[in-house]
């Protein structure tokens, strides 16, 4: 085990030395990988910023059941019981008329109007989240059933805009995934070629190593570390580009958002997402190196 760890430590040190020994090439490679990765990472950051801004808008099928103002509390409880019995319902949240008014008073642009009201015109309501699998027709049928209840004044079912937004978000996610896959392939190809060149420059050493008893795993190891380190550096560059770009864009975005009464900002990736970008980049570097070294090592045999 100690010997195994020692081999890994030496391989990592050898890879670092190779990176340090070819600073210009290493920096250029990291830049190419970083720029390629910054595109999907930036698109993802934009999408997440929009999602955060629209956090109040649920993309799941949702019903809002407004009660008659004169409906007694017992009838309201009967509506709740009916909702909770329903298989299609994921969650039921009661919003009292007082709570609704308080929430309304916090909405930008409406606060002053809400504060000026002499009486509370808002009804009690249930906000009902349905299971995602519930089809639109079933939601409409359920809404119609609820409308028939005595205590119910109005049922608002799954606003069309929310469904459209959900569909757009889905398309955007797919586009980002496709872009990321395409660029990931590019990153693997870049690393493949870089490692191929490294192997060619170390052909004599590899040949001698094979002659004196080095296993393929031993020979492969420093190249795998090199690929992973190169990918990691590329990931770090991508995050740096993203951070710098968002920092440059945000003052303009803030100014534009303010004209709509919004405090919207483009947000940098969450720590978990940023770590995932770096780790994914390192993995792709490792993968490119693995493919390259596996292919080319077979071609180098002692003569």
């Amino acid at each position: 085990m100690r010997a195994w760890l020692r081999h890994h430590r030496r391989a990592a040190a050898a890879a670092l030395a190779r990176l340090a020994g070819q600073k210009a090439a290493a920096v250029l490679n990291a830049l190419v990988i970083g720029i390629a990765l910054a595109l999907p990472a930036g698109a993802y950051a934009l999408l997440e910023s929009l999602r955060a801004a629209a956090a109040d808008a649920s993309f799941e099928p949702q019903l809002t059941v407004f009660l008659r103002p004169e409906a007694p509390r017992a009838e309201a409880e009967a509506v709740r019981a009916r909702l909770e019995r329903e298989q299609r319902v994921r969650e039921v949240r009661f919003v009292s008329r007082e709570q609704a008014l308080t929430e309304l008073q916090t909405v930008e642009g409406i606060a002053e109007i809400a504060a000026a009201l002499e009486t509370n015109p808002l009804p009690d309501a249930f906000v009902v989240r349905l299971r995602e699998a519930a089809p639109h027709e079933a939601v409409e049928a359920f809404a119609a059933e609820l409308r028939a209840l005595a205590a119910v004044a109005h049922v608002q079912a799954d606003p069309l805009w929310a469904r459209r937004l959900a569909a757009l978000v889905g398309i955007a996610r797919l586009a980002i995934a496709l872009l990321a896959a395409l660029l990931a392939f590019g990153l693997v190809a870049i690393t493949f070629n870089t490692i191929r060149l490294q192997i060619l420059t170390q052909r004599a050493e590899i040949e001698v190593s094979k002659l004196i008893g080095a296993t393929d795993a031993f020979i492969r190891r420093p190249f795998l570390y090199l690929g992973a380190m190169q990918g990691l550096c590329g990931g770090a560059v991508a995050l740096a580009i993203l951070w710098a770009s968002l920092s440059a864009l945000n003052p303009e975005v803030a100014e534009l958002a303010a004209t709509y009464g919004s405090s919207f900002r483009l947000r940098f990736l969450e720590p978990g997402d940023a770590t995932a970008v770096a780790a994914f980049s390192a993995f792709l570097g490792w993968l490119g190196a693995y493919l390259s070294v596996s292919k080319h090592l077979r071609e180098i045999e002692p003569s």
Binding site: R6, H7, E207, V208, S209, L211, I212, E301
Partner: protein, 217 residues
């Protein structure tokens, strides 16, 4: 230790380098493989080190049928062999010391123990004072001694050398032969391929004589 049984080697271009060669070498023997250029000496050594596979027959080294070894097992066979190649195959982008350290890198020794072994090997071949030099700065004889140091640093049971005295003057060749003799005296099986008849005559060792791929009687 080493045995060939009806071994033939035919290369893809049709050239038959060895034809029905049979012999055996006992542990601790010192044997010369003699013959003119193209007689099959190098091929014979390559078959022992699993650099080439026999076309027919069996090559047995330390109880292992080399021709039947899986590729993954070959490195472990080679770790028990010290190989001194024609042209030395030294790495000229690193020091004398680092060249000798190379076979120890994939062993289980600590760095300190590996360095101690490498220095001991350099000491044995008389290059201890040149450990920081680049191989390119060494003379031909010194480079050959460095190749020997690298071959023996792992304490192999068998030492194979292909034309180790080629391009060396008589004094340097004698020094190289003395080093092989020293290893032989501590129990290492030594197999030297050479066409230097004077060297063979001087040593008085067993000789396997090859001619056009066949063992001469």
């Amino acid at each position: 230790m080493i045995s060939f049984s009806g071994v033939s080697k035919r290369y893809p271009d049709g050239h038959e380098a060895l034809a029905n060669v049979t012999f055996s070498i006992e542990p601790g023997e010192f044997v010369f493989v003699a013959g003119h250029t193209g007689a099959g000496k190098t091929t014979l050594l390559k078959l022992i080190a699993a650099i080439e596979r026999p076309s027919a027959g069996a090559v047995i080294v330390a109880g292992q049928n080399v021709g039947a070894l899986k590729p993954a097992a070959v490195p472990y066979l080679r770790r028990n062999l010290g190989l001194v190649f024609q042209g030395q195959k030294l790495l000229y982008d690193r020091s004398v010391f680092d060249n000798v350290m190379l076979p120890l890198a994939f062993g289980e020794l600590t760095e300190r123990e590996a360095a101690r072994r490498a220095r001991a090997a350099l000491e044995k071949v008389g290059l201890a004072a040149r450990e920081r030099a680049n191989p390119i700065q060494l003379s031909g004889g010194e480079q050959q001694r460095l190749a020997i140091a690298r071959a023996v640093v792992n304490r192999p049971a068998v030492l194979l050398a292909d034309e180790p005295t080629a391009n060396l003057d008589a004094a340097a060749a004698g020094a190289v032969l003395d080093i092989f003799s020293a290893f032989h005296q501590v129990g290492v099986t030594v197999l030297v391929a050479t066409h230097d008849e004077a060297l063979i005559a001087r040593s008085g060792r067993r000789v396997l004589r090859l001619s056009n791929g066949s063992l001469a009687a």
